[in-house]
């Protein structure tokens, strides 16, 4: 009788609290893992869309700020396709050259007669960006994010953007 009482005392006093503590620890671990997974997924989504969103917004802003005839053009120099935006200074004509180099959208602001050199500032991290300018003035770009998602950018340029 005494042995039976002692055994039930062990179950109630040691095994049950230990079981509950183990359950508590397991649930804590599962919750922490679940939180980590959720954070990882959200961060991956943000990283994926951030670069292409920034690049698309930057291109749109640049084009709408410079939407005048003869200002926007496309050029290939030293094997690099670039979007060129001309700005006339008091004595010198400058160019903003927007191009992709080594997985980054870059911009350099240089005198128009300077040869191309890859020394621009970084705008966004993307995989690639292709530019096209149709005769009717529709500028279009396809931005491929680091994760491979494609973001289209189209912009209607005034009078075709050309002289």
């Amino acid at each position: 009788m005494q042995v039976k009482k002692n055994r039930s005392g062990v179950v109630a006093g040691i095994m049950l609290p230990m079981g509950l503590i183990c359950l508590f620890a397991f649930c804590s671990l599962a919750l922490a893992l679940m939180g980590g997974q959720a954070y990882k997924q959200i961060q991956a989504g943000v990283d994926d869309s951030f670069g292409s969103t920034v690049a698309a917004s930057y291109l749109r802003t640049k084009l709408s700020q410079n939407n005048q005839p003869g200002v926007v053009s496309l050029r290939t120099e030293a094997g690099v396709d670039m979007l060129v935006i001309r700005t006339e200074g008091a004595q010198t004509v400058y160019e903003s050259r927007i191009y992709v180099s080594d997985g980054r959208l870059m911009e350099s602001f240089v005198p128009a007669d300077d040869p191309f050199s890859d020394n621009g500032i970084k705008i966004a991290e993307i995989t690639s960006c292709t530019f096209a300018l149709a005769d009717d003035g529709l500028f279009s770009a396809e931005i491929v994010s680091v994760a491979g998602a494609v973001t289209p950018v189209s912009f209607a340029l005034t009078e075709g953007g050309r002289v």
């Binding site: 609290p17 508590f24 804590s28 279009s140």
Partner: protein
């Protein structure tokens, strides 16, 4: 008697702790799910915005006839279908749609085109909307009054 009372008190305390922890867990799991949903909605909103703005710019440059893969609706609007990754899709597979409405208004000097684009998910929830206008003078081909 005293030992038994101590054991029971410990158990009750443990159970109360686990109850509090369970409630916190339930709240946190709900928040994780909500955070994931917000991230997905933001992603969809970004792509919807990019697509809708691009469609509007194409209409500004080329008119409605410049749009490809448009599904003309009886009410005069144009529907575009996209899958989960915002790539063009057929109507049956579409997770998102963009409805583009173009309404031309003849003015004395040309045509004022009112453009609106509304992106919706499959369940009809609005993801993104944009409205703008484009003026085409009569000298550039707009039909004046």
């Amino acid at each position: 008697m005293k030992k038994r009372y101590r054991n029971t008190a410990f158990l009750v305390e443990l159970l109360v702790n686990i109850l509090v922890f369970s409630i916190s867990c339930a709240i946190l799991v709900g928040l994780f799910g909500k955070a994931g949903q917000i991230a997905r909605d933001t992603h969809a909103e970004n792509f919807a915005g990019a697509e809708a703005q691009s469609l509007i710019e194409i209409v500004k440059a080329r008119g409605v006839q410049g749009l490809e893969d448009a599904d003309a609706q009886p009410d005069g609007s144009l529907l575009f279908y996209y899958d989960e990754d915002w790539q063009p899709a057929s109507g049956a597979d579409a997770a998102y749609t963009i409805r583009l409405v173009v309404r031309d208004e003849a003015t004395v000097a040309g045509v004022l085109s009112h453009l609106s684009a509304v992106a919706e998910s499959r369940d009809g929830a609005e993801v993104f909307s944009i409205a703008t206008a484009s003026y085409q003078p009569a000298s550039a081909g707009g039909d004046a009054l």
